[in-house]
């Protein structure tokens, strides 16, 4: 009860902060960085919902991102659909892919599921290169129309999308759905014995996770105005996983902070541009060793209990 009010206040504060930042500091560079960080936030939150709650870490999240991005790219450049159509289309395509790859792989134990998903992403990257005539190969698809012409306007749109997705997934995670996912993490067989259709929940959760990842991919496509096979790269998946670890697995809101923090951090180290991947990998190693529960979510929880203690 009290905790929920602090949560709500915190969320509002965060939104206000994020909305105000570009107004205070201005400059297209900052807005650009913030937009990218927000999109990563959407990807990180979508990953956390499925993999964080069920403990089935998905090493191929970039698959859904890429599918969403390429769908948007195709619909826009080849068929002339506006961005507002490509968003739902991207979500649907991502969900289809999730269904197709999820059915055979979700039966597998943790590490094997992770590697199977990784293989899926690698294969998509390959396919984009093999069918270069249709997909533009290394160059990818260029000349995508921006969703919103104004830089600031696009940022606010992306921010709104992040807030919406986070709120939705948070609600789902706090509901019985989330309870079931966490129980699946605990003991699948016992869940079955309790009458829960575990397969349905796993696949459905992967599809939900994929849908939002794809949405983020479509938003990204309409922001960068181009998509390339790099989106499917393992780098993308690892970056997102690092963000979730920093934010705090299974918290849903933590990964938002993780994403923004990491993107801002690496932008600050812009001069070390080529070292970015290194930074992410080393961060991951450090987090796994010293802060396996993450940074953001545990800090927030501690702040909450301190505040509650005062009352």
């Amino acid at each position: 009860m009290f905790g929920k009010r602090i949560d709500f206040a915190g969320a509002l504060g965060f939104i206000a902060f994020m909305a105000a930042l570009p107004l205070i500091f201005g400059g297209n560079y900052l807005i650009g960085v913030l937009t990218v960080s927000v999109i990563y936030g959407i990807w990180a939150v979508s990953w956390d919902f499925m993999s964080g709650l069920t403990g089935r870490e998905n090493f191929g999240h970039s698959l859904f991102i890429g599918v969403g991005a390429y769908t948007a790219g195709f619909l826009n450049t080849t068929f002339g659909f506006s961005g507002w159509w490509s968003l739902p289309a991207a979500m649907v395509m991502a969900m289809v892919f999730a269904l197709v790859i999820g059915v055979p792989t979700l039966r597998l134990k943790g590490p094997y599921f992770a590697l199977a998903m990784l293989s899926g992403a690698v294969i998509m990257q390959r396919l984009m290169l093999i069918f270069w005539e249709q997909t533009g190969g290394e160059e990818g698809i260029n000349g995508i129309e921006p969703l919103i012409r104004s830089q600031l306007g696009f940022y606010y749109f992306a921010l709104a999308a992040l807030v919406l997705v986070t709120a939705l997934l948070l609600a789902l995670a706090r509901s019985h759905w989330g309870l079931i996912l966490r129980a699946v993490r605990g003991d699948e067989a016992t869940c079955q014995a309790a009458g829960i259709n575990v397969t349905f929940y796993k696949i459905a959760s992967l599809m939900i996770s994929a849908a939002f990842a794809g949405a983020g991919g479509a938003i990204y496509a309409h922001y960068q105005l181009q998509v390339s096979p790099q989106l499917f790269a393992i780098v993308t998946s690892i970056t997102i996983i690092t963000m979730v670890y920093v934010g705090g697995m299974a918290s849903i809101y933590g990964p938002v902070g993780g994403a923004i923090l990491l993107v801002l951090l690496t932008e600050l180290l812009r001069n070390f541009g080529e070292w970015r991947l290194m930074i992410y990998s080393c961060t991951l190693i450090l987090i796994l060793f010293f802060l396996p529960n993450g940074l953001i979510a545990p800090t927030w929880r501690r702040m909450k209990s301190m505040l509650a203690g005062r009352e």
Binding site: P104, P111, Y112, V122, R126
Partner: protein, 284 residues
Amino acid sequence: MLEILIHGAVSSAIYAMLAVGFTLIFGVARILNLAHGSFYALGAYGAYFFTAQLKLPLLPAALLAIALVALFGVVVERVLVRPMRRSQLAVLMITLAVALVVEQVLFLTFGSEYRNVPAFVETKFTIGGVDVGGQRLLALGVSVTLIALLWIFIQRTRLGSAILAVSQDPEAANYMGIPSDRIFSIVMGLSAALAAAAGVLAGPFLTVQPTMWLLPIVKAFAIVIVGGLGSIPGSILAALMLGYAETIVGYLISTSWTEIVSVLATLLMLVFRPAGIFGKRAAF
């Protein structure tokens, strides 16, 4: 036809070396080592570096590279993997992070252009009317020899028996006076050495660039899934199957499709027979 036979054999041999190392460390220590591909890459780059930059003759350069990579493998296991052993997923992530770090280091040091690893044998041979590079034949021969040596080592020596014991039950082996932890390190070193050797041998005729670690790991994973996790004979058989499947696809369709073969094989196997051909422990 003979071309396919020979080239398929060469591919299979390289894959077998990669897969055997991968399945070995899994079978013994339950570690799915995503940095395995990095050992392969480091082997190739090591050979390049020691010959091109340090001007060492080829054989010592190759051996030095393999030895250093083996050492690196042991260090990774000891420092990064062992504290994480409680969770297979954590090990997966750590080794993946290591792989990415290695890729970055290689990129920053050597750049992204393809590098030239010198071959042991430059001449081309003609067998039954088919042209085959001498290096490929060497790779085939050395791979077969090394795997055979490994097999004999495990079956016939005391250390080999210790390894088998640890792979069945590390705790029980400990009680019997076998230092499981040290065995893990040794096996990791062996596994890394095999991968590095594959890199040294295949480097001359396969691409050498910083991202070269990813596809081998995807294929090694495919092979051990098909052959059965932890089974060396399974890995060899599956390596043969994959090597030939890829070669045939390469000849009949196109080389760009060859990578798809391994991933498709993985997915199909996972769907229909997750324990693989010889596997005892299923993937779920």
